[in-house]
Symmetry: D2
Subunit: 359 residues, 4 copies
Amino acid sequence: MDSVWKNRLTLSLFGESHGPAVGMTLGGIPAGEAIDLDQLFVFLERRAPGRSSWSTSRREADVPEFLSGISNGKTNGGPIAALIRNQDARPADYEAIQEIPRPGHGDFTAHVKYGDHQPGGGHLSGRLTAALCIAGGICLQILDRRGICIGGHIASVVGVSDHLFDPVHVEAAQLSALAAMDFPVLNPEAGRRMIAVIEEAKAAGDSVGGVVECAVLGLPPGLGEPIFGGIENRISGLVFGIPAVKAVEFGAGFGAALMRGSEHNDPFYWSGDRVKARSNHHGGILGGITSGMPLLFRAAIKPTPSIGIRQESVGLTVRESVALEISGRHDPCIVPRAVPPVEAAAAIAICDACLEGNL
Amino acid sequence: MDSVWKNRLTLSLFGESHGPAVGMTLGGIPAGEAIDLDQLFVFLERRAPGRSSWSTSRREADVPEFLSGISNGKTNGGPIAALIRNQDARPADYEAIQEIPRPGHGDFTAHVKYGDHQPGGGHLSGRLTAALCIAGGICLQILDRRGICIGGHIASVVGVSDHLFDPVHVEAAQLSALAAMDFPVLNPEAGRRMIAVIEEAKAAGDSVGGVVECAVLGLPPGLGEPIFGGIENRISGLVFGIPAVKAVEFGAGFGAALMRGSEHNDPFYWSGDRVKARSNHHGGILGGITSGMPLLFRAAIKPTPSIGIRQESVGLTVRESVALEISGRHDPCIVPRAVPPVEAAAAIAICDACLEGNL
Amino acid sequence: MDSVWKNRLTLSLFGESHGPAVGMTLGGIPAGEAIDLDQLFVFLERRAPGRSSWSTSRREADVPEFLSGISNGKTNGGPIAALIRNQDARPADYEAIQEIPRPGHGDFTAHVKYGDHQPGGGHLSGRLTAALCIAGGICLQILDRRGICIGGHIASVVGVSDHLFDPVHVEAAQLSALAAMDFPVLNPEAGRRMIAVIEEAKAAGDSVGGVVECAVLGLPPGLGEPIFGGIENRISGLVFGIPAVKAVEFGAGFGAALMRGSEHNDPFYWSGDRVKARSNHHGGILGGITSGMPLLFRAAIKPTPSIGIRQESVGLTVRESVALEISGRHDPCIVPRAVPPVEAAAAIAICDACLEGNL
Amino acid sequence: MDSVWKNRLTLSLFGESHGPAVGMTLGGIPAGEAIDLDQLFVFLERRAPGRSSWSTSRREADVPEFLSGISNGKTNGGPIAALIRNQDARPADYEAIQEIPRPGHGDFTAHVKYGDHQPGGGHLSGRLTAALCIAGGICLQILDRRGICIGGHIASVVGVSDHLFDPVHVEAAQLSALAAMDFPVLNPEAGRRMIAVIEEAKAAGDSVGGVVECAVLGLPPGLGEPIFGGIENRISGLVFGIPAVKAVEFGAGFGAALMRGSEHNDPFYWSGDRVKARSNHHGGILGGITSGMPLLFRAAIKPTPSIGIRQESVGLTVRESVALEISGRHDPCIVPRAVPPVEAAAAIAICDACLEGNL
């Protein structure tokens, strides 16, 4: 295991949920890019736990310390390294889990693979997405300077659906507005109902899943590569690095499987000196390469595995059935806090493709 | 662009739809693995065009020539290289396309990226999946020897749905039976209706999309890695290398977004000396690592972009609107021929994880 | 084993000395680069066997067949694949070697690693440098168009030394002249003595080692990266891919170990609008990055292991001492034929760094 | 620039000489390997500055802080991250250098590449070898447990030569003895003369170069791969990551160029159930793969560029000649302190090959 994603950019994540820190090294960023740390902290804050009724009560300030790669507010061309200290780690909460794996969680598979050596929560933890967001937050600022903006919202929570982005007319102002929301949705009424559903699940000691939709605007055509270097390959390779993601779809996605070509094919037309498409079922990617239309994708987030409700599990050393009740602090719904990591994954993939395309 | 996928295995694809050949080099396969070329040809034959009413009338024998890596029927430890000559290439069919991009196809983005240099159909072609299938077919045999089998079926065509695999009880015999079918479905009645829909689309000069479902059985727990080295990351990184794929989901996938944790979490129990799960919403992967339950995923295949129906497009050199009618030989539905490439992608990813795990 | 070198460019080699072919896939070359195949053949011809008293009598036309990546004389942006058929393979010559490893050759280590599976000579053969030279020859043309030229000569053969390049004043015309020579040396008298020594060794059934010196001219400052991405790292990573190379030194190299800083440090001065150095002990590389001065390096080539003289070896299956006399066709001195592969390695590394630097 | 070396292991270095810290992330180490931190500190101490007349007077405790990957004294399977805080950084010493590049140093090329953004000394600094040594020290312990030991000595300083290792009979006890020495040499008399030469250079405000020789013992045959995956490729790829290294040779190295095959080829014989060689000109590597004989290589270390003697340089913003006199704290000879980084590079490369070979 190296937890490294490497293409034009190289991202290396490290850390454990209940160890001293999580962090990252990001290589390949050119020298001279201004990085506004306050703006980065605001982005990280959106992911940080402990700020609402729907998130874990674990509190982490999540202020990164930069160790290299940024001098006098600008990148210096060297690898950018940063860490976030874990302040509210409670390994004892996880001790039982070492012996009794949580259903739906990586406890069991980590035990098979790494034995007794990993600490509680270990490296297979949503906490690692804090490190992903440091890298993503840096990339977002670099992209912003190139006229590219990225933003997401909660598309659904257990079947309560927000409006989706208009695939052709989604605008940067919408993304900015979403970034300023505690609970980013396009339809406030849907948001209220989602929160109600989450609080109800919380009260029941349960959790709920949902979908994050993400848009990338301002992309020039021609970024990415065919076959294994496609934008879909890059984004999915990063998005599946977020522990709870179980599915990803681009443009019409699974909806494309229900269509005829005459319906799915997006007609081209000249708009001034640019070729545009009248519809956008292709989600801004054709042959793995950006078309210049908005890039749109959705990621399915499974319900948080750690729930209070009594569950059936097993003892790993004593071969027996165990009824598991988890008492730690957990998110009843990780979807709101998953929005920034999904944006981060997109930002890293797109920044990578921009550098490749010499943007 | 290098069209290389590299982890424990290294797969390098080359070739163009209307050039002399397509092919691949596969590195990392240990010495001494028997490869039955006849069995490999049977697998490639399942993908080859020209054998049914629902596929393109382009005929390609698709018999690979091996250049290295296999001696006396066994791998010799060196890179395995093979090529398939293009026999029925008709570059003239594609000449118009150079100037007028097909809606929904990579013609436009390839033009932006590579200019006038690429030949008709170029490297961004479904024909490259023939090379993917050589690699996949080799991996399938290596996995089979380790008790791991992989198989897929047509889960749906424009809304006509086959049964899905039983996530817990899917069996190897089912996969073998599917591999022997021209039109692999679990429910013959659904298959007949799908074929009817495809033929209807063909008659109309149209095309249709669909979904491929794939299962991997016999996996031990503990393969794969967390974060970016997860089985989901690997499979999606390869599956999105198949040109028409626009979405992928593992286990319950987007369905997980509709669930509560108490419903989604799969209870563990001891079955003899193995830990199993009573349900399989996790699709055999927890924390990026195999759990030992059947691995299940689905890929959405968009409708073939090349259709006979008149479409709106643009001239790329003369800035004008163009009504495009495509007269080449095209599949009205690529879904049946996409089953082997999806299996190939899974086989490469799993073989990679097996070698990593010293299986 | 994947025999892949991957950075900005990706080079994948395949083939076996006594299999059907050797070849390569080169990814990452941009579209639109003119490739003159005749010029490439001339380059390959310099490495090809069978044309002089000092090389093996094995004859191979070594004309590559291009399978993809070049259309109408220009790169098309896709991976470039090419192969060279083996015409004069004689596996029987190597059969004994499977059982009795040649001292100084990789036969023994390949046997330990791959067992009985590899064919005679296998993948660990100098013949693979033909594939390296296809990639290198392509890169040389791309570099030439950017004003960068690369050339080497035989710096010594068993102690008979040619003049070395003047580290500051070496000129492109010298490199062109060397490329046109059958036996490339700066000092014709030294060349004659070298040939005499080689012929003498051949007559004795023996072989001799030597040194190749290589220069890269016309480099701008600023190519390459520090630490593991340095030009030294890239060139050495490729040059040690040539089977007989056992050492590499840049600039003053091992001579730098004999110097004081006041002597070794090359003084900077302004020459018009460029910073130059009055001497060039650094060989054109400082901190892994090109300085704009000529890049100079030398590679030591060991004597060909295959000699006619009786040698002590062992049986690998029957545990016994064996007196080995090799009757195949072998080079008494590989050094002249190693010049193009060394140039090829440099060309690939430099082309890689140029693309990285957007040249 | 990512400063990442990636194969089976992935090593990512970060940090700047005059920034807050240097550090590393090492991925790919299996879970359950005991790491003795005291032993690691002893190894790092050998490289640390400020402890003798021949090293810089900059003092750094160089005690690493581990952030992840080690729990309860054992690796836990996750990436291992560690950092060393810079305590005695004096950026002001380097301010002039930003404007006036030191001859022989990467200041000039870093300026061309990164502009004014990098901090004094930057990422192109010997200080980064502290991070390399953390990784190397971990690998040394893992190798030791597998019966493989690595050790180096100062083979020469400006022409004053130590004895070389006996290529066939070098023993582990010798390596242990060297590791315990402040100034590791095989011949104490040569060591005394080297120290005298270094002190003389220091008094003159000058510096001197030298050679480090390194041995790896206890290797099984069969590690490494042919072509680009050879042990020479791996070691050189890492060793050239040490800023001052300008050359590397394996076994007889450049000496092989002076030999005939009948002299260079090392005769094989059976010694019990192992094949050994009577001599070891091949330095333990044949065809890129270990032979089981001692692995031997030498690296040339150039004289430290920072010297007190007045040198000719240039102003980079004002285009003028400048006489440069450097007043910072610098090593008159980096060779003694380069021994642990060279050992570290070898340890990482060999540990990588061991994991690949499932040792």
